[in-house]
């Protein structure tokens, strides 16, 4: 089995993010592998362990995205490739999906392409479904568990997390999946993995290497703003007993007209 997994480098979820003169700042918070993508890497690795094969990890971004790739290598991916080109500076979701799909095709013979649910910076959550559409492969989004996989018969059965619970779906490989947190905790990079990753050569594929022109961005983000400050009057409710506090609190909540 040949598995491709895609990761993004993002500011840590604990970062305080602000914008000034159109420039986003996350202070001194570290850049990390997108938390959702760690589940995707976990899924890719566990599939390779169970059914044989290896995992190639890709990231689209600047040179610094190599850190996210190294994290995935340290978790156990066999090789990493950076997708990077100055012409991708203002790429939109469909452009990202186009580049990722072309990378999957260039790698060749991929059975499963795995994505995280969404990136915690742009929060779009559409890349996996878009890539599936471009490739003409089934889109198995929001996979919570893989119930069956038969590499010889090229069939897969997954449980998808939907609003109403789980939808259990059969599909033929190759397929694109996105993975949700229910899949299970991602493994920590091992000491040996970290050593291997630190020495790894990470090649870069440019648009010329992929043989495609820069995708035209249809979506533009002309303005970023800090959300309005939350105006709230804090009131600490006190009383002589839990019952007294609770009674007062219940009356106050009802008076707000939200029930």
């Amino acid at each position: 089995m040949k598995i491709a997994v895609f990761v993004k480098q993002v500011p840590d979820s604990a970062a305080k993010v602000t914008v000034e003169n159109g420039v986003v700042s996350w202070g001194d918070a570290p850049l990390v592998i997108n938390p959702w993508d760690e589940y995707a890497v976990e899924a890719a690795l566990s599939l390779a362990e169970k059914h044989g094969g290896d995992v190639t990890v890709f990231s689209l971004g600047s040179e610094s995205a190599k850190e996210a790739l190294k994290h995935a290598l340290a978790m156990g991916c066999a090789q990493a490739i950076l997708l990077s080109d100055p012409a991708l500076k203002s790429v939109d979701s469909s452009g990202i999906a186009r580049v990722c799909s072309t990378a999957i095709q260039k790698l060749g013979d991929v059975n499963i392409a795995v994505f995280g649910k969404q990136a915690i910076d742009s929060d779009t959550g559409v890349t996996a479904a878009m890539a599936a559409r471009i490739l003409g492969w089934p889109a198995l989004t929001l996979v919570a568990s893989i119930a069956q996989l038969d590499p010889a018969a090229k069939t897969i059965r997954v449980e998808r997390g939907i609003e109403e619970g789980r939808q259990i779906v059969d599909a033929k490989l190759p397929a694109v999946m996105s993975i949700v947190k229910d899949f299970g905790e991602p493994r920590y990079p091992s000491f040996m993995g970290i050593r291997k990753a630190s020495k790894a050569e990470i090649p870069t594929w440019t648009l010329a290497d992929l043989g495609i022109p820069a995708p035209e961005a249809k979506i533009t983000w002309p303005e970023l703003i800090n959300p309005p400050k939350r105006e709230v009057t804090n009131e600490i409710v006190t009383g002589g007993s839990p019952d007294e506090i609770a009674t007062k609190l219940a009356d106050k909540i009802i008076a707000e007209g939200v029930l």
């Binding site: 979701s93 915690i120 033929k172 979506i219 959300p227 029930l259």
Partner: protein, 348 residues
């Protein structure tokens, strides 16, 4: 005259998501401003009854695809049909609710139609022949204004961000039947089964959420059964009793139960309950946070709630800064008393 506004009506087994009506209502408003009209897309099997409420909430016509190949929701046949209908009639925009289905359908149709998708928007303006949408990024730590240079613009609307849908029972419209694009054997997936969790209020569209955090395990007086000997398991058992207690309050308020990432990661409650940047971003009318200190990633997921109530032992917990009402105290004393107080007042 501008083209129509398409609205995809999201439903599960023929039961429309309430959020679908928010989208129809929002589309009605935008169409009114633009001099356009609203076309609702209803796909499934035996789903004609969905047309009537669609008219009531603001659709001018319903494009109905009623076919056995559409009985189970599947992305490929649904996206193919949306794309075909859009190619035939050139709508200005296609609107979806931000649901698991809406998001992937919008993504796939965007590729088919060679256009852009703007997911999870909280505001839409139509100016100079173009839509500008506002959407939260970094889980709401920032807002982005986004435009699309191509038509149709595909947008998914955040649940509860566009106000209560307006119903007018006198409205009617025409139903036009349309046929699926893919034949049964062209569809690459097959739905085997469902494991549904019906009866529970889902976090995404809940008006009231009662949430718990690490503090729920902090009740030494609760004695786990003798067969649980492991300390970690004892802690989880205690927290689970705490979530049961929150569940009772939620029951009285018709609320959904939420949780912090810390509580989910500690194994107290399954992941679908997680509120925050790596869980669900919610915007209820009332959010009761108990035993949650308020890490930045949690606050990002609930800061737009109308009224926030915090119950925590630690008076310095950051959650209190966002809270309209706070109680510094033991949630194991306050929550049951609060449940009782609401029972009396709401006559339940």
């Amino acid at each position: 005259m501008p083209g129509k506004i398409f609205v995809y009506i999201d439903h599960f087994k023929g039961k429309p998501l309430p959020a679908s009506w928010e989208v129809v209502s929002a589309a009605r408003k935008i169409a009114g401003e633009m001099g356009s009209w609203v076309s609702a897309l209803v796909f499934g099997q035996g789903v004609e009854s969905i047309a009537q409420p669609a008219f009531h909430y603001g659709a001018d016509e319903v494009l109905l695809a009623d076919d056995s190949s559409l009985a189970d929701y599947r992305a490929e046949p649904y996206a193919a049909l949306i794309s075909k209908l859009a190619k035939d009639t050139h709508p200005e925009a296609v609107l979806f609710t931000t649901s698991t289905r809406g998001r992937e359908l919008a993504a796939m149709a965007a590729i088919d139609l060679d256009t852009g998708v703007i997911p999870d928007v909280i505001e839409i303006k139509h100016e100079g022949g173009k839509f500008t949408a506002t959407r939260p990024i970094y889980a709401g730590k920032l807002l982005a204004k986004v435009t699309c240079s191509t038509k149709p613009t595909l947008l998914t609307l955040r649940v509860r961000a566009f106000g209560k849908p307006v119903e007018d029972a006198s409205r009617t419209g025409a139903i036009t039947k349309v046929s699926p694009v893919l034949t049964a054997d062209q569809i690459p997936t097959k739905v085997v089964d469902y494991a549904t969790t019906e009866g529970r209020v889902s976090l995404g569209d809940a008006a009231v959420i009662v949430s718990g955090g690490r503090g729920l395990s902090n009740n030494p007086s609760l004695q786990p059964p003798a067969e649980i000997t492991d300390e970690k398991q004892k802690e989880i058992w205690r927290a689970q009793q705490g979530f049961k207690m929150l569940g009772e309050l939620a029951g009285v308020l018709g609320a959904a139960v939420g949780a912090s990432r810390a509580a989910v990661d500690a194994g107290y409650i399954p992941y679908p309950h997680q509120v925050g940047q790596t869980g669900k971003v919610v915007s209820p009318d009332l959010y009761i946070a108990s035993g949650i200190s308020g890490a930045i990633q949690h606050l990002a997921g609930m800061r737009t709630a109308k009224v926030i109530v915090a119950i925590n032992k630690d008076a310095d917990a950051p959650i209190f800064k966002l809270a309209r009402f706070g109680v510094v105290g033991d949630l194991y004393e306050i929550i049951p008393a609060l449940t009782k107080a609401f029972k009396e007042r709401l006559h339940k």
